[in-house]
C-alpha cells in the first residue's frame, strides 16, 4: 500500500464521522492546548525570574559570614565566627581576575530633609557599588573613592526617595539627616524598578563605614565581587575561599556565585515548568481515553469492512496498521488544533499580563505534538489489535 493511499484511506475513515471525529480531536486539542499554554507560562516565568536576577550582571560572587551547612551545628551557635570586615574587602580586591569589590551593610532608617521624612532602605556600600550592580547615576555622581574607614558623609538617593523628599526641587548639594547624622546629597540614581517585590528605588546609598556606625555594627553583612567576564566563577570562588581562609583561619563564610545560584534557580524553575506541563498532561490522558472509546466503536461498526479487507487478501498486520494509523491521525489532528489553542492562549495571556510574558518554547510545542501522536498510538493499540484478530468469516457475517 502506497503511503499517500494509507493516509487517504485512514483520513477518509475519520472524515466519514465528522461530528464524532471532531469531538474526539477536541479532547486531545484541549489536552495539548493546556500543555502548551502551561509550559509557555512556566517558561515565561522562568525567563522573567532569571532576568530579574541577572540584571546585576552574571559575573557576581557574594560572600556572607557564617558557614551554611546542611547538617551539624551552625557556626553562629559556636559564636567564634570571625566577621567579614572592610579589611577583608581590601584584601580581596588585590586578587587577580577580580575587577571590583563592594562591602555591603544594609538596614532601615528614617531619612529627613527639610520638613519631610521617609523610611527607606539604607545601603552602606563602596564607590564600586554602582559598577558592580550596574546602577546608573541620573544626576551628580556616585559615592567617591574615599579611604573606606574615613569616608566622608555623602549620600546618593534612589529615584523614589529623591522624588518623595525633594519633588521637583534641586536635591544635589542639600543636606539630609539619616538616623540623626547629616549627609550631603551628591547624586541620585536612575530608576531601577523592583526586584521580586523589593523597590530598589526606595533606597539611599552611603559609605559602608558610615552605615556600620549608624547600625552599630562592627562587621559587614556581605561582600560582593565582580570578576572578569572570561574567567570561570568557580575558579575565582576557589581563590577567594583560599584568601579568606588564610585570613580567618577556617572557612567561616559562605561563597555564592551568581552562576551557581542561577543554575539552582533554573533547575527549580524547570521543575516547575515540567510540573505544570504534567498537569496539562492529565487532560491529555482524558483525551486519550476518548480516542480509545471512539476507536473501539469504529472497529465494531466496521467489522464487515474488516472482513471484506481480509477476504481481499489484506494481512492481519496491515489491518492493525490501518486502525492504529487512524487513531494516531485523530490524535495528531487534535494535537495540531491544540497547538493553535495553546499558542493563541499564550499570546492572549501576554496581551493581558504584559509584565509576565508567556514564552512559547518550541521544544515543548514539538514534544507536545509528538506526545499527542503517542497518546493516539497507545489508545489505538487495543481496538486495532481486536480488529486484526477478528476471524474473517465472523467479520463478514456482521453486515
Amino acid at each position: 500500500m502506497q503511503i499517500q493511499d494509507f493516509f487517504r484511506y485512514t483520513f477518509n475513515g475519520i472524515r466519514a464521522q465528522r461530528l464524532r471525529s471532531f469531538l474526539t480531536t477536541l479532547g486531545i486539542a484541549v489536552g495539548i492546548g493546556a500543555v502548551v499554554l502551561l509550559t509557555s507560562l512556566g517558561e515565561g516565568l522562568h525567563r522573567f525570574v532569571l532576568a530579574e536576577f541577572t540584571q546585576f550582571g552574571t559575573n557576581l560572587i557574594a560572600i556572607n559570614p557564617g558557614k551554611v551547612t546542611t547538617h551539624g551545628v551552625s557556626g553562629a551557635l559556636l559564636s567564634n565566627v570571625r566577621p567579614l570586615t572592610i579589611e577583608d574587602t581590601a584584601i580581596l580586591k588585590q586578587l587577580p581576575q577580580i575587577l571590583d569589590v563592594v562591602s555591603v551593610v544594609q538596614g532601615n532608617g528614617a531619612i529627613k530633609a527639610g520638613g519631610r521624612q521617609r523610611r527607606a532602605t539604607i545601603y552602606g556600600v563602596d564607590a564600586s557599588a554602582a559598577r558592580v550592580w550596574k546602577f546608573a547615576v541620573a544626576a551628580g555622581r556616585f559615592l567617591p573613592d574615599d579611604p573606606p574607614r574615613s569616608a566622608r558623609s555623602f549620600v546618593v538617593l534612589g529615584s523614589k526617595v529623591r522624588q518623595e523628599l525633594f519633588g521637583s526641587n534641586q536635591a544635589l548639594g542639600m543636606r539630609i539627616r539619616i538616623g540623626g547624622e547629616l549627609f550631603r546629597v551628591i547624586g541620585s540614581m536612575e530608576s531601577k524598578g523592583q526586584m521580586l517585590g523589593f523597590d530598589l528605588d526606595d533606597a539611599v546609598y552611603i559609605p559602608a563605614a558610615k552605615a556600620m556606625a549608624l547600625f552599630n555594627r562592627e562587621s559587614l553583612m556581605e561582600i560582593d565581587l565582580l570578576h572578569t567576564a572570561g574567567s570561570s566563577s568557580s575558579v575565582v570562588a576557589e581563590k577567594v575561599r583560599k584568601a579568606l581562609q588564610a585570613r580567618h583561619g577556617k572557612e567561616d563564610f559562605t561563597i555564592t556565585t551568581q552562576e551557581k545560584m542561577l543554575e539552582i534557580l533554573g533547575g527549580v524553575l524547570n521543575t516547575l515548568t515540567i510540573a505544570v506541563g504534567a498537569l496539562g498532561g492529565i487532560s491529555l490522558l482524558v483525551g486519550g481515553v476518548g480516542i480509545l472509546t471512539i476507536m473501539s466503536i469504529t472497529v465494531n461498526e466496521r467489522t464487515g469492512e474488516i472482513g471484506l479487507l481480509r477476504a481481499m487478501g489484506v494481512e492481519q498486520s496491515q489491518i492493525l496498521t490501518l486502525f492504529l494509523g487512524e487513531a494516531v491521525l485523530l490524535a495528531a489532528i487534535g494535537g495540531l488544533a491544540g497547538l493553535g489553542l495553546g499558542v493563541g492562549g499564550s499570546w492572549l495571556f501576554s496581551l493581558a499580563v504584559p509584565a509576565l510574558p508567556a514564552h512559547i518554547s518550541w521544544t515543548y510545542v514539538a514534544s507536545a505534538e509528538l506526545l499527542a501522536a503517542f497518546v493516539g498510538l497507545l489508545a489505538g493499540v487495543l481496538p486495532a489489535r481486536r480488529a486484526a484478530r477478528l476471524h474473517p468469516v465472523e467479520a463478514l457475517r456482521a453486515e
Binding site: 500500500m1 502506497q2 471484506l308 477476504a311 481481499m312 487478501g313 453486515e399
Partner: protein, 224 residues
Amino acid sequence: MISLQNIERIFQVGDEEVHALRDVSMTATDGDHIAIMGPSGSGKSSLLNILGLLDRPDTGSYELDGVKVSELDEKEQARIRRHKIGFVFQFFHLVPRLTAFDNIALPLMLAGMKQDERQARVTAALAAFGLGNRAQHRPDQLSGGQRQRVAIARATIMQPSVILADEPTGNLDRNSGIEVVEILEELNRQGITLIMVTHDPELGRRAQRQILMVDGRIEREAEG
C-alpha cells in the same frame, strides 16, 4: 485447478459440536462453472469459506493450482486470496464511505499499485460493467444491481482465477439478478472458474455442474 480431499470442519457451538463439513472431496478444473446447492445449514457457505481460504479445515487437504494451500500460514494465504480469488457477497460488502470508483480500486490500492496506474484499469472496469457514469457515486446512491456490479468489478479487478459467489442474487430483484448472473457467466466464459452458492434452483440449473449438499456432505453431483 482446485482439489479438496476429505475435508472435515467442526464448529463448537456452546457444548455442542456442529459438523459443518463431513468428508467433503471435490475437484474443479479451470473455467468450471459450479453451483453449490442445498438447504440452509447444509454446509454450503462453510465449503465456500474453505475454498476462499477464509477458514481452515480441521482435517483434509486443499490444493489450489498445485499448491497445498491448507498448509500455508496466514500471510501466504492472504497473498493467494489477493491474487487468485475474487469474492462476491449476497450483501455486496461495499465500503459505504467510498465512491464506486474507490471501491473497485480498493484491492489495487491495498496491493500497493500507484494511483495513476489504477486510474486506467478502474475506468476500464467501470465502463465494462456499465457503470461509466456512476464512478463518483457512493453505494447508497446506487441501485442493488449497480452495487452488485461494483462488487463484481472489485472482485475481478485483480484478475483472479476463481470467483466465489455467495448468493450473489439473493438480495436483488429478478431483473437485476438475471443481469448479475449474466455478467458472472460472461466472466466464466472468459476462463474464470465460477463457484456459486445458491438457493435458487433455476440459477443452479444454469451451471455446468451442480453439487447438492445435505447435512455437511456432498449428496450428489449432476452435470448439465
